[in-house]
């Protein structure tokens, strides 16, 4: 297992493609970058590169899915929900016949969030979770590491319906071992704790775990939830966390409006209201940062383990 999400995505696709001839893959001039080109080398008649035409890619995927194929359509997040939302909504999510809600299309985006780095604000997709979780029938996954990506790619292939999975550009810490069982709709209790809960997704999970370690040294017991399944959201785990830890801090590399933090806050409000603080990009855009500066860019927007720990302390202080 490599720490590269895209490499694990590509590996899973080849395995799936070998087992199931209905698996097809689409790319928009990004098959090399998304590591789907390997699938094309193994199964040349099942990889469709439509060129730089993301709306077309999504609609073609919808047609393939309508006809019984299981298409995985991939490109950068900024060009998927960021560009093709009409095709995603009307061609993929909306068509329903009988029990099938939406068409069986898997949209997998790389380059989610600020950690895209050098390409700059135009390429840092900070709104995709908000967009995608507002669309009925879609399930929205934000895995934290390459192991999760591998597992969830397989899960998506085996589960009927439209999915959106957001991957990060950069290599990420490996958090899970290969036996981890990840199921959409079920948050992972990544760390037990009783004084506060940190809900994270994507690259912020490892930050949250580091923050929890630091806070543990100070005698604060932090629960950490991997909210990789932003939709369906695990309301039970959230309610339990609210009841048992009394406060929740969310963190994500996404606009604070509409993202995972919003989803958690909505859930807490309706189940067991406790103080919730949302950490994310404060309704603004990112900017370029060289690869070595990406942690600084994230830090500038408050997305770091140090800041997560600080916000937990503030949250506990506010509650006293």
């Amino acid at each position: 297992m490599t720490p590269d999400m895209r490499a694990e995505y590509g590996r899973a696709l080849v395995e799936l493609g070998r087992a199931n001839p209905d698996i097809v893959v689409l790319g928009a001039d990004t098959t090399d970058s998304l590591k789907t080109a390997g699938f094309g080398r193994k199964f040349p008649d099942r990889l469709f590169n439509v060129g730089i035409a993301e709306g077309n890619m999504v609609s073609v995927a919808a047609g393939l899915a309508y006809s019984g194929k299981i298409p995985f359509a991939s490109t950068y997040a900024i060009f998927l929900p960021g560009r093709a939302v009409d095709q995603i909504r009307n061609n993929v999510a909306y068509p329903s016949r009988g029990a099938g809600r939406g068409l069986n299309v898997k949209l997998v985006a790389s380059h989610g969030g600020l950690s895209v780095g050098p390409d700059g604000g135009s390429h840092q997709q900070l709104e995709d979770i908000a967009i995608m979780r507002a669309i009925p029938n879609f399930r929205v996954l934000v895995p934290a590491d390459s192991v999760s990506v591998y597992h969830l790619t397989r899960t998506m292939a085996e589960t009927y319906g439209p999915f959106y999975m957001r991957m990060a550009r950069s290599k990420t810490d490996i958090i899970y071992d290969e036996s981890e069982d990840l199921a959409p709709g079920r948050a992972v209790l990544a760390r037990e704790g009783s004084d506060c809960t940190i809900a994270a997704c994507g690259i912020t999970l490892s930050m949250a775990l580091n923050a929890a370690d630091a806070l543990h040294q100070e005698g604060i017991s932090c629960r950490v939830l991997d909210m990789f399944s932003v939709k369906p959201l695990d309301g039970d785990s959230i309610e339990k966390a609210a009841r048992q830890t009394g406060a929740i801090l969310t963190c994500e590399e996404h606009n604070v409006h509409g993202g995972m933090g919003s989803a958690v806050a909505e859930s807490v409000c309706e189940s067991y209201p406790v103080p919730v603080r949302r950490l994310g990009v404060g309704d603004t855009f990112g900017e370029s940062a060289r690869d070595s500066e990406i942690p600084d860019l994230l830090e500038a927007h408050g997305i770091s383990s140090v800041n997560i720990a600080r916000r937990v302390r503030e949250l506990r202080r506010d509650m006293q």
Binding site: A53, S59, L64, S67, N90
Partner: protein, 554 residues
Amino acid sequence: MGSGYCSIRRNALRARALVVRATAAAGSGHPGGSFSMAEAMGCLFKHMRYDPTDPLWEERDRLILSKGHAAPGLFSYLAISGFIKESEMETLRSLGSRLQGHPDLKCPGVEFCGGSLGTGLSYSVGVALALRLDKNPGRVFAVVGDGESNEGQIWEATMSASKFGLDNLVVVLDRNYVQQDSYTEGVMPLDAAVPGPDPVAARGDRSAWRTADKWRAFGWHTIEVDGHRIEQLDGALHRALAHRGGPVIIVSRSVKGRGVEHMEDNPQWHGKAPSHQTVPIILRELESQAAVAPSIIAGDMARLDREVSRCQEAGADFVHLDVMDGAFVPNTTFDHAKIRELRPITDIPFDTHLMISEPVRSVRRYAEVGSDIITVHAEACDASEFGEILDYLHSNEVGAGIAVNPATPVPEWLDAFVPKLDQFIVMSVVPGRSGQAYIEESHQKTQEVAAYLRDRGFGGVIEADGGVNASNVAGCFADGARTFVGGSSMVGQADMGRAIREMRSLILGARRLGLLREAHRLGGPELVEKWAALHTVGGKADSIREMAAEASLL
């Protein structure tokens, strides 16, 4: 063997009527774009393989309506083809209906949730790719609008279909020159500019056509047709399906709102439903579509090939072929061998009128050589023979007609056949030779025949044949005739094109007057005024008002 011309024409009329009723009931909807594709849809449903009892049959052809706002136009054909009941059309756009404002998979036979324009062709590419991967013989037919061709994604899909070499994909572009705001050529042109005030001038000016050029440049095989000429659409689909190696587009140049004069070429009717008050007048108008059928024996009998070419150039709707055998009538003209010779000259439908004895013995030969409608004489057969003829013709997709001579009453045995009959010829001369004068009593007879047929569920057309000319054609129309055979009045004229245009204009006048009378009957001068005022395009309202005033209807 036949083209199914008559059944397609009948279905197109039925489809339009269903669209009128459904959109009027809904109070909204898009009749204009439904009408412009009515003939194209009729031809598609003829060519498609489908099973209404098993809408998801694996090997079916897939019809994808990319211009989803024309949903009523699709639903009407799903009703005609048996996917849904005709009565369901009345639920269009209502809460809980399977007939949504735009096509939805809820409705059997619908393969694509249309509505957001420009995406249906990409979706069709996906479906075609999947069928090819599965070695499924099903084919994909996508109906695309010219307005939606403003969407860049249409061209993304065009490139993709070409790249992937999809020869299981056929596009019909409903090129009706109108979109929501206005005329396409003003909003976003697809053809070259044509100077002058006519916003749809490019439709009739081949030198301005650029639409197919674009698709050709993107690697498509292109075919141009008149979108209301069934024979052209049918021929184009045959060729498109035979094409190998890549996708095909049929550019179907059509008239938005076609069939209802006040909706024709009128952007107002892109997305508006007719009022309840006007529905009966509109339905009457739909049944008032007329055609001209020049009879070539009025020309040079030694060069009938040339006469057929003249009919083609003059824009005839049919070529009327009078077959005389020297037994049923004293004269002899030609037989099926000559028709076989003439068939390759034009794709205009052949309206073959058999003035022969014992037609039951030879009708097959006339069908085999490419007749689209064959009419036999009531005097030359009995019920069982006619039944055999009709069954044979219909099973071979040839229209079936019956003709009666001036002295012959409608035979009693015809009653049972009326609903299946495609044509009824009222002879207004004694058949046998060209150039005779119209027998005045024929007006009365045609009116009686029209009433007789109407009462028995007739879905075909009455043809006036014999001495029809500019002086009596309006009267023949008022009697109920809808196809007009012209011998000396058309083929006998040096400029047949002009003669036909004049006849058409007289027929249009008669049609307008008939509709004004209908409006007056239904709602007095107030409805007459309303009806006239609907004709906003091309200053027609004023001339229609004038006509109403002259007829003391206003």
